[in-house]
């Protein structure tokens, strides 16, 4: 099995005493110390404000995965609404919005592969979105 590490470093001087956090985790299959062995890396360009099914549950064969999504835009007006749920036939009411991924932002989270991950671009300009899935 492969060895894959994810490291997060947070640095903030918002508070008077600055915050510095650094943690590394090894990406393992659910509840084990066995490393994940599958990786998908995709870049897409979206050109409308329609909701898009970005990562479907059918694309992963496990019940535990790690997801990285990046908005590489440098235009602060370009963001993606990130939602999770069953988008089924253009029914966004079935999804829960996680948050908005603004220009330059990334997100990282474990995914239980129960529901699809969907995105809605803020503009109809060409907007690039990048994602990786480890499972």
């Amino acid at each position: 099995m492969a060895t894959t590490n994810a490291t997060i470093d947070l640095a903030s001087d918002i508070t008077d005493s600055s915050l510095a956090v650094s943690n590394t985790t090894e990406l393992n299959t659910a509840g084990t110390t066995t490393g994940v062995n599958t990786m998908t890396s995709v870049t897409k360009v979206l050109s409308s404000t329609n909701q898009v099914d970005l990562i479907a549950t059918g694309s992963v064969s496990t019940t535990h995965a790690y997801v990285y999504i990046n908005n590489p835009s440098e235009d602060e007006t370009q963001y993606f609404n990130i939602t999770i749920g069953n988008a089924g036939a253009g029914s966004p009411t079935d999804t829960e919005e996680i948050g908005r991924l603004y220009a330059g932002d990334w997100m990282w989270f474990p995914w239980d592969v129960d529901d699809d991950i969907c995105v809605t671009p803020s503009t109809s300009d060409d907007m690039t979105i990048e994602y990786m899935v480890f499972s």
Binding site: A2, T25, A30, G31, M39, G85
Partner: protein
Amino acid sequence: MATTATLTLASTDIAGDPVNVSKVATLTKAGSTNDLDQSTGLNRVHLRSTSNKVLLAANAEGDNLAAKVYIINKSDDASLYVTVTINAQTIGKLYGGDFLFIPWSQTDTDADIEVAATNWTSSTGDIPVEYALFHEDTDFLTNA
């Protein structure tokens, strides 16, 4: 007042060639280049409940504003996990050592971020969880 978040993904053997991804984000207010200027700081709780507990309470005033959430399961036991949900929608399971870093839209007051020590028992011991929220808006208060 700047806050940066850096993610590094590295593997020498998950693909034919080494994987090394590093991305830095400077956390800004919604739709602007101004830095986020508020934070809960780093918090630590010990979970000992299999039912959902509110970690961060949503405030509808936070809708359409920028907020970032960091949560880590500090357990050393790889089998102990914390289930993370938003408005009863499961996002995923943080196993021992795992973390998440996500944007958080509070579309309504039901969009609380909740956690549960789903496979906790009295013999497993508590699951330590650390978290932090970075956000904007003076009226955006949380239970942290």
